[in-house]
């Protein structure tokens, strides 16, 4: 039996501004977990988009089991056994698990749905994956991890031989991630080829049999298991050795809190949250996804109504009516959903950066020269790599998109900056730059709240961490005691008895 392989030879992809892929040759074999790593903009996404039929390459070939093929769209790729699990999971919340899995491929008999048969097959798939929910569960009631399993099951139901997973653990808790790894292990033993894209290098090293490193659209190297450790891998990705990732922590000056949160409650999401933050302080908020971190932060800029409690900004009790109101009082929120809420993707860099502060440039006509000059300044300060400031931000890499979001809020000159998962989907190099930037802002007196699922980030960056569980702030870990264990105990509710 000839093993199934998916391979590419000399794939190149030329976009208007950049050469996204430069003769990339890779091969993915059945029964292996193959990691693909690289900084944002290295070409991972483009490569995967080509292999899953979304995009047509400028030149080069794709081979399936040695045969050159031309992929005509996603359906064609799926028909040939290539399925991709996107970060934004393509599941329909309103349908049940079984309905989702057979969506578009319903089993029918003379036009009538055979739901019994579909449920049976779904049950088989779910047990194969070790899922704990039933075929009749409505997908909206599942956690992100559950939805991910539904997407995997759907791919398997279509006889996927290659499963491309794009940052699957980005939205999972550690426990959920472990469960996913055992699913991956199972699939591997069944002969599925797994292409695993992730920014979390420790994870990639843990589960991958081979790792391909991309940089600037080229394959730097393909490593066998055990050939490199985390820092070597990181060096290969950025092309230079990496020193300390986190900048030194500064001392917090000032004693009057700039923001005080007292007994804030939000419907169904947050109860009795209280904390305060000093100018120049970096406070982390840790907790599992769904613990109410994002909701709490959103309420601090008026995006969610408080059902109880008060928010004081510089000692003044404020009823915030929305982000604009909050912005005027110096509180800004950088959303975790960069593409959906952080940026208007169809608008260009200049327009995105000045969106909240546009009135400053308009009297009443926008002074486009001044606007552009201010944005150019930010581009330089934050080292944002935009080919063309007039091109939609859609085309920027994750790290650069994040910097555009940041520039947008820094232009406001806020007193309190709330950063929700600021480094999610951002590559190692850009991560470090972001950490340095946050540390510098704090040194200059800005109060920063950093929400993160990555504990090393909280520990390395923050002066203290608040831990949330089920909508409550269950504890605070001060600087000298900041360890992953201390945070996880609180987050998971394990009492240190």
């Amino acid at each position: 039996m000839s093993a199934f392989t998916l391979a590419s030879r000399d794939l190149s992809m030329q976009f208007p501004a950049v050469l996204a892929l430069d003769s990339v040759s890779v091969s993915f074999k059945s029964g292996e977990v193959h990691g693909v790593v690289g900084e944002n903009g290295a070409g991972k996404s483009t490569l995967m988009r080509i292999l899953s039929g979304i995009q047509t390459p400028t030149s080069g070939e794709v081979f399936i089991s040695g045969q050159p093929v031309r992929l005509h769209g996603v359906r064609d790729a799926i028909g040939r056994g290539i399925a991709m699990i996107h970060q934004e999971l393509d599941v329909v919340d309103e349908l049940t698990v079984a309905e989702n899995i057979f969506l578009g491929e319903e089993i029918t008999k003379r036009g009538i749905l055979c739901s019994t048969k579909m449920k049976e097959e779904t049950r088989a798939l779910l047990s194969q994956l070790g899922a704990k929910f039933s075929a009749d569960t409505r997908v909206e009631s599942l956690s992100v991890a559950g939805k991910q399993l539904v997407a995997v099951a759907k791919a398997l139901s279509l006889n996927a031989k290659v499963l491309i997973m794009d940052e699957p653990t980005a939205v999972l808790s550690e426990h959920e991630a472990d469960a996913l790894f055992s699913v991956i292990e199972k699939l591997k033993s069944q002969g599925v080829a797994i292409v695993y894209i992730s920014h979390r290098l420790s994870e990639v090293l843990q589960i991958c049999d081979r790792i391909t490193v991309l940089r600037d659209g080229r394959v730097v190297r393909t490593l066998e298991r055990g050939e490199a450790d985390e820092s070597e891998l990181a060096s290969l990705m950025v092309g230079r050795p990496l020193q300390d990732v986190f900048p030194p922590k500064s001392h917090v000056h000032g004693d009057a809190p700039v923001l005080q949160v007292r007994d804030v409650s939000l419907r169904d999401k947050v109860e009795w949250a209280s904390f305060e933050i000093l100018p120049g302080e970096i406070v982390g908020i840790a907790g599992l996804v769904g613990s109410g971190r994002t909701e709490l932060c959103e309420s601090l800029v008026g995006l969610r109504p408080l059902v109880g409690g008060e928010v004081y900004i510089q000692g003044e009790c404020c009823k915030l009516r929305g982000p604009k109101d909050a912005m005027k009082r110096g509180v800004c929120y950088l959303s975790e959903d960069r593409k959906g809420l952080g940026l208007v993707l169809d608008m260009n860099t200049v327009e995105n950066v000045t969106l909240p502060t546009l009135r400053k440039f308009a009297s009443p006509f926008i002074d486009k020269k001044r606007e552009k000059a201010v944005v150019s300044n930010w581009i330089e300060t934050l080292d944002i790599r935009v080919g063309d400031v007039q091109a939609p931000t859609l085309y920027l890499s994750g790290g650069n998109q994040q910097k555009v979001c940041l520039a947008k809020w820094l232009e406001v000159e806020p007193r309190v900056l709330i950063l929700d998962e600021p480094t999610r989907g951002v590559d190692v190099g850009a991560k470090r730059e972001l950490y340095e930037l946050i540390a510098r802002l704090a040194r200059e007196g800005m109060a920063c709240i950093v929400v993160s699922s990555e504990l090393p980030e909280i520990i390395g960056l923050c002066h203290r961490a608040l831990v949330m569980r089920n909508g409550r702030i269950v504890g605070e870990v001060p600087e000298p005691l900041l360890t992953e264990e201390a945070i996880m105990r609180l987050a998971a509710g394990v009492d240190a008895a």
Partner: protein, 333 residues
């Protein structure tokens, strides 16, 4: 080939305009180049044109306004009632006309504001709110006009409709000075104003942001509700202006017939002009060309003596082609 496609997506509406113009020129020769005919190209549908400018902004926010046609009848009816009331006294006709214009404008503005307010703060879909407006405004107009026409009793009202600025050096076929009508002048002025608004002001940028990603705009401290209220209010106000000039030209308003299907013509002009119905991208000049193109289509059908009943089919086809071209533009992204 691909370049040609991109060019057509961007400037297809102008290509269509030139092509149709050429066809007419071939068939009718220089007769078609008479200044009078050219002027009518701009002025004939200027009423819908004025409304279409507002509609462009509404559609760019991702909304729609179906109520404008009915609102024309309501604004016109109120305007003429005020005109007849105040103008009963011979001495005050000028005042009467001014007040009629103000009344028409005010009714349109208020109605537009109500539309916008319900959409933005009541969180009802624009389609539903303005569909309700389409029904209600027409009905109110019919009540005012007792189901029929309201005639103006002020003779000089007509002068607004037929008045304008004579174009120097040009004459009509019978030798009178050629007049560029007020409503056509207004149409072009309003288009320039809106174009500036859209491209050069914070408000315009906010319109685009709301249409492209409303939630992201909200998160970016844009007052999205105010933007929405404003575009509908502006469209209502423009509808009031259109109603005033239309009723002046006819010296009456047919409460059952005035403005009928204007909403469809306005939407058609906007879409043909290259504004995306999904919001977030659009252009005022495109709408202006779209309005002229619709007029030219009618003219062409007259040239070829096509039964006017076929007009709808041709318009429908043009709208579909425009949208298909637009979708091409998106797919190429």
């Amino acid at each position: 080939m691909k370049r040609l496609g991109v060019f057509l997506q961007e400037y297809g509406v102008i290509v269509a305009l030139v092509a149709l113009f050429g066809v007419n020129l071939l068939e009718r020769g220089t007769e078609f180049l008479q200044p009078e005919i050219l002027r009518n190209m701009v002025s004939q549908n200027a009423y819908t044109g004025i409304i279409a400018i507002g509609m462009t902004l509404v559609i760019m926010t991702g909304g729609i306004d179906l109520s404008v046609g009915s609102l024309v009848a309501l604004c016109g009816a109120v305007g003429i009632i005020v005109l007849n009331g105040v103008g009963a006294n011979e001495a005050s006709t000028t005042l009467a006309i001014a007040l009629a214009g103000c009344a028409s404008l005010a009714v349109g503005t208020v109605a537009g504001f109500l539309n916008g307010f319900t959409i933005a703060y009541g969180r009802v879909a624009p389609f539903i709110v303005t569909l309700a407006g389409l029904a209600a405004f027409r009905s109110l107009a019919l009540v005012l006009g007792n189901g029929g026409e309201i005639r103006s009793t002020v003779e000089s009202y007509k002068e607004i409709g037929f008045g304008g600025i004579p174009i120097p050096g040009l004459q009509t076929a019978v030798g009178d000075p050629l007049i560029f009508y007020w409503h056509a002048i207004l149409f072009l002025l309003i288009a320039c104003f809106a174009s500036f608004l859209l491209n050069r002001t914070a408000f315009g940028r906010h319109v685009i942001a709301v249409g492209a990603n409303e939630r992201a705009a909200h998160y970016s401290a844009v007052n999205t509700r105010r933007v929405k209220v404003f575009v509908y209010t502006l469209t209502g106000a423009l509808t009031g202006i259109a109603a005033f000039t239309l009723s002046a030209k006819q010296n009456s308003i047919g409460t059952g017939s005035a403005g009928l299907y204007y909403e469809l013509d306005a939407i058609a002009a906007v879409v043909i002009g290259g504004t995306s119905l999904r919001g977030g991208r659009g252009r005022i000049w495109g709408t202006v060309v779209g309005v002229v193109l619709l007029t030219l289509i009618t003219a062409t059908m007259t040239t070829y003596r096509v039964n006017t009943n076929w007009q709808g089919v041709v318009r429908g086809a043009v709208i579909l082609i425009a949208v298909l071209l637009q979708r091409g533009a998106r797919a190429n992204d």
